[in-house]
C-alpha cells in the first residue's frame, strides 16, 4: 500500500503541477462555450419555421383581457396575431429570425374543471396533430392579485409535448407573462390604460410588471399534454416539467462526468506509452509490483479527475447561486456524482492503462481504444431517452449495467430525488465488482505489456496474457 501511495502522489503532483492541468481547467469551460457557439452557429443553417401557439385566455371581461393588452402594447389589433413586443415580421434588431411565433386565440370552454380539462385534452390533440406547437392556458384568476402569504398560484401554463421547448421559452413565454402582469396592473388601476401605449416608457412598463408579478405567482408552469386516461376514460391534466431539474442538471452533470473521464483517463494511456518509450517502466518494476504501479497510477489520476470535477462543480454552483439556481445542485446529488465519477475513473482508467501498456505508440493504441471509447460513449446515446423517462425499463437496466452505471444512475438520481436507495447502491455494488475485476485483468495485461516492445498485441494475445499470464 505504501508503494501505491508513493506512486499515486507522484502521479498526482506530475498531473496537477503542470501546464496541462491548468490548461485543462481553462479548456473545459471553453469547450462547453465552444459547443454552445457551434449550436448558435448552426442556428444560421436552421430552416425557417413558423411556430403556431394557441392561447386560451380564461380571464373574465375579454375586452380588457390579456389579448387586448398584448395588442394594445404591440399596436397590432389583429386578434390572431400577437407579437406584442417584437416586430410582426420577426425581424428583431435587424437580424432575421429563423423561427417565427404566431399566436392563435382559442375560445375558452366553460369554467367548471371538467370542461376545462376536456378542452385542454382537445387542444392537446391539435398539438399532437401538429396543428399547434403548444398552447398557453391563462388561469381565470390570473388578473387578480393574490393575497399576501397565499401559496404560489399557476397563472399561466404552457402545454407541450416537447421536453425542452427553447423557442417558446426564449421568444414567447416572457411576452405572455408580461402581458398578463400588465393587465393585472391595469385591473388594479384601470386609468393606467388610458395613457395608451406611447405614453409609457419601457422603464415604466417594467416597473408596472415587476410590481404585479411579485405577489404569489409561480410565473410560467410547463406541462406535458393532457390526455384521456385509457383505464377510466377521464381527462387527465399534463404533468409539470421542470426544465432546470429535468434537463439542464442531469445533462450538465453527465457531460461533466464524461469529459472528466476522457480528460482524466486518456493521459494515462499517453503516460504509460511514454514511460515505455523512455524506459522508465523497468526502473519502476525494479521497485514495485505491477499491481502497485497500476493502482498508484489509477489512484493518482482518479484524485486529479475528482479534483478537476469538484473545481467545476464549485464553479458551477457559484455561477448558479448568482442566478438563484444553486438549489438544483442537491447535496446528495453532488455526493453521488463524486462516488460515480471516482468509480468510473478507476474502471475506465484501468482499461486505458492496460491498453497503454500493451502498445508501443499511440498509433497502435487506436485499434484497441475504439471499443473502449464506444463503451464509454454508449450512455450518451440513450441519455435523452433516460431524461425523458427515467423510470422506464431501459433507464433502469442501463443504469444497472456497470459500464453505463455512472452516467445513467447519476441522471436518474438527478431526475428522481425519491429513487429507492437500493437502486444506486446496487449500481455501486455491481460497479465495484466490475471495477475490481477490470483492475485485476488490467494488471495482468499491464505486467506483461509494460515491458514489451514492438508489434501491438492482438485481442487474442491480450486474452492469452490474461488467462495464462504470459
Amino acid at each position: 500500500m505504501e508503494k501505491i501511495l508513493v506512486i499515486a502522489r507522484r502521479e498526482f503532483r506530475a498531473a496537477v503541477v503542470s501546464k496541462a492541468f491548468l490548461i485543462s481547467i481553462i479548456l473545459m469551460p471553453l469547450m462547453m462555450l465552444g459547443s454552445l457557439g457551434v449550436q448558435i452557429a448552426l442556428e444560421r443553417f436552421r430552416p425557417d419555421e413558423e411556430r403556431v401557439l394557441g392561447i386560451i385566455d380564461r380571464t373574465p371581461g375579454k375586452n380588457l383581457g390579456a389579448v387586448e393588452t398584448l395588442n394594445l402594447l404591440s399596436g397590432d389589433n389583429s386578434t390572431n396575431k400577437m407579437d406584442p413586443f417584437g416586430d410582426p415580421a420577426g425581424d428583431q434588431g435587424g437580424k432575421k429570425q429563423r423561427v417565427r411565433i404566431k399566436f392563435v386565440a382559442i375560445e375558452p370552454s366553460g369554467t367548471d374543471p371538467e370542461s376545462i380539462l376536456k378542452q385542454r385534452v382537445s387542444v392537446g390533440d391539435r398539438v399532437r396533430k401538429r396543428e399547434l406547437s403548444g398552447f398557453f392556458d391563462i388561469h381565470p384568476d390570473a388578473l387578480v392579485t393574490p393575497p399576501k402569504d397565499a401559496p404560489p398560484r399557476e397563472d399561466v401554463t404552457y402545454y407541450t409535448d416537447r421536453t425542452f421547448d427553447r423557442d417558446v421559452l426564449t421568444m414567447a413565454s416572457g411576452k405572455v407573462l408580461s402581458a398578463v402582469y400588465l393587465q393585472r396592473a391595469a385591473c388594479l388601476n384601470p386609468l393606467l390604460l388610458v395613457k395608451g401605449r406611447n405614453s409609457y416608457t419601457p422603464e415604466e412598463l417594467s416597473s408596472l410588471i415587476r410590481e404585479t408579478s411579485k405577489a404569489g405567482s409561480r410565473g410560467l408552469s410547463m406541462k406535458d399534454l393532457p390526455h384521456f386516461d385509457p383505464a377510466t376514460g377521464k381527462p387527465v391534466d399534463g404533468q409539470e416539467t421542470k426544465i432546470a431539474e429535468n434537463i439542464i442538471v442531469p445533462l450538465v452533470l453527465v457531460m461533466l462526468m464524461f469529459i472528466v473521464i476522457m480528460m482524466g483517463a486518456s493521459p494515462l494511456l499517453q503516460a504509460v506509452i511514454e514511460e515505455k518509450m523512455q524506459r522508465i517502466a523497468e526502473v519502476l518494476l525494479g521497485s514495485a509490483q505491477p499491481f502497485d504501479i497500476l493502482m498508484g497510477k489509477l489512484l493518482g489520476m482518479t484524485t486529479v479527475g475528482v479534483l478537476l470535477a469538484l473545481v467545476y462543480l464549485l464553479g458551477g454552483a457559484f455561477i448558479a447561486s448568482r442566478f438563484d439556481a444553486a438549489r438544483f445542485l442537491r447535496a446528495d446529488l453532488v455526493l453521488w456524482f463524486v462516488v460515480f465519477e471516482t468509480m468510473a475513473l478507476l474502471m475506465f482508467g484501468a482499461v486505458f492503462l492496460a491498453v497503454g501498456s500493451a502498445v508501443s505508440d499511440i498509433k497502435q493504441a487506436q485499434t484497441l481504444l475504439t471499443p473502449v471509447t464506444l463503451i464509454i460513449t454508449i450512455p450518451l446515446f440513450v441519455l435523452m431517452r433516460v431524461i425523458e423517462d427515467p423510470g422506464s425499463g431501459l433507464a433502469r437496466w442501463m443504469s444497472l449495467f456497470p459500464t453505463a452505471t455512472p452516467m445513467m444512475m447519476l441522471a436518474r438520481i438527478a431526475l428522481q430525488p425519491d429513487l429507492p436507495l437500493w437502486e444506486p447502491l446496487l449500481g455501486v455494488f455491481l460497479m465495484l465488482i466490475t471495477t475490481l475485476v477490470v483492475v485485476l485483468l488490467a494488471s495482468r495485461i499491464f505486467r506483461i505489456g509494460y515491458l514489451s516492445q514492438g508489434q501491438a498485441p492482438k485481442i487474442r494475445d491480450l486474452i492469452g496474457w490474461i488467462v495464462k499470464g504470459e
Binding site: I7, E282, S287, Q289, G469
Partner: protein, 306 residues
C-alpha cells in the same frame, strides 16, 4: 542452497516464442562480493537479470533471491540498474531520487539524497530537471537511484557505459564501498579489463548457456593457461594453423595465441621462426579477455573491448 547465497538459479530456462534466451542455467551467487556477469551481446544476460528481478517468470527451473522464491519483500532489498536507462525527464533530480528511494521503502530520503549527490558532484543539479542533464550525469543519477536504499543485493547492468574516465573512477569507488558495506553486487559489463580488476568472481553466459563461473583463481585453473603474444615484421604472416597453437586471434598488428595442451611457449616459438621475422614475442597468464574470447569465439570478439 545456504544462507550465504544471495541468488540461486536452478536449471532456469526462459523462452520467448521459439527463441530460448536462457537455457538450463545453474548459478549460485554468494553474499558480499562483486560478481562479474559477462557475455556477448544477445547472450541472455539481461534476461537473466530480469529473471533475478522477477520481471520475468522462468519457464522452467527455480529462481531464489535473498532466500525467497516468489518475490515478496525481497524487491526492497534489491537495487536494480537496468540496461536501458529511464528517468522522468520533467522531474527534478532531487525529487526523482527521493521518489526512487521512497519506492524502496526509505521514509526520510532527503539527507540521503543530498549525501549521494555530493558524492557524485551533482548537488548543484539537485533542483534541475532531468532533461537538462548530460548523458553521463543522468547515468550517475540512475545509479544513485539504484543503490540509494543501500540494498543487500545490487544488479547493475552496464553501469559504466557513457561515463568519462573521471566519473568511471567515482563509480568504481562507489561499487567497492558498496561491497565493503556488505552489498552483494552483480555487475554486468562488457569492460573485461575492469571486470578483471574489480570482480571477485565471474559468470559467463553465451547463447543462453553458462560457459563458466567461479572465482578468478578457479577460472584461471579451469580455463586459463599460458598465452603468447606475437607480432611479425611482415604483417601478412598468419600464425594460425601452426603446430602447438590451439587458437589465434588477431589484435591489431599482433596475434594472441592459445597454446595447445601438449605444447609449450618454447615449442611454439620454434614453430613460428620459420614463418618469417618475429618483431616481438611475449608470454603470460591468460587474461579474462583471452578466456572470454577463447570460450565465446572470435565472432563475438569483435564486440568486446580488448
Amino acid at each position: 542452497m545456504s544462507h550465504l547465497d544471495a541468488v540461486v538459479l536452478e536449471k532456469v530456462t526462459k523462452r520467448f516464442g521459439n527463441y530460448t534466451a536462457v537455457d538450463g542455467v545453474d548459478l549460485v551467487i554468494q553474499h558480499g562480493a562483486i560478481h562479474g556477469f559477462l557475455g556477448p551481446n544477445g547472450s541472455g544476460k539481461t534476461t537473466t537479470l530480469r529473471l533475478i528481478m522477477r520481471l520475468f517468470a522462468p519457464d522452467e527451473g527455480r529462481v531464489v533471491v535473498m532466500g525467497e522464491t516468489h518475490g515478496g519483500c525481497s524487491r526492497d532489498e534489491v537495487g536494480y540498474l537496468p540496461e536501458e536507462r529511464g528517468l522522468y525527464k520533467t522531474m527534478k533530480v532531487g525529487e526523482m531520487l527521493e521518489f526512487l528511494a521512497r519506492l524502496k521503502g526509505v521514509h526520510q530520503p532527503a539527507s540521503l539524497v543530498d549525501d549521494w549527490l555530493k558524492r557524485f558532484d551533482l548537488f548543484a543539479w539537485k533542483k534541475k530537471k532531468i532533461e537538462t542533464l548530460s548523458k553521463g550525469m543522468a547515468q550517475k543519477v540512475q545509479f544513485i537511484g539504484a543503490i540509494i536504499s543501500r540494498p543487500k543485493l545490487a544488479l547493475l547492468d552496464e553501469p559504466f557505459s557513457g561515463l568519462d574516465p573521471v566519473n568511471a573512477l567515482v563509480m568504481r569507488e562507489a561499487l567497492i564501498r558498496l561491497r565493503e558495506e556488505g552489498t552483494t553486487v552483480i555487475l554486468s559489463t562488457h569492460d573485461l579489463a575492469l571486470a578483471e580488476q574489480m570482480c571477485d568472481s565471474f559468470f559467463l553466459i553465451h547463447k543462453g548457456k553458462k560457459l563458466l563461473s567461479g572465482s578468478w583463481s578457479e577460472v584461471q585453473r579451469d580455463h586459463g593457461g599460458e598465452r603468447v603474444r606475437v607480432s611479425f615484421v611482415d604483417p601478412g604472416i598468419r600464425p594460425d594453423g601452426v603446430s602447438g597453437v590451439a587458437g589465434a586471434i588477431p589484435t591489431g598488428e599482433a596475434w594472441e595465441l592459445d597454446i595447445a595442451e601438449n605444447a609449450t611457449p618454447e615449442s611454439v616459438l620454434a614453430e613460428l621462426l620459420p614463418l618469417g621475422g618475429i618483431r616481438r614475442f611475449e608470454t603470460g597468464q591468460a587474461s579474462l579477455s583471452d578466456i572470454f574470447l577463447r570460450l565465446v569465439g572470435a565472432t563475438a570478439g569483435a564486440s568486446v573491448g580488448h
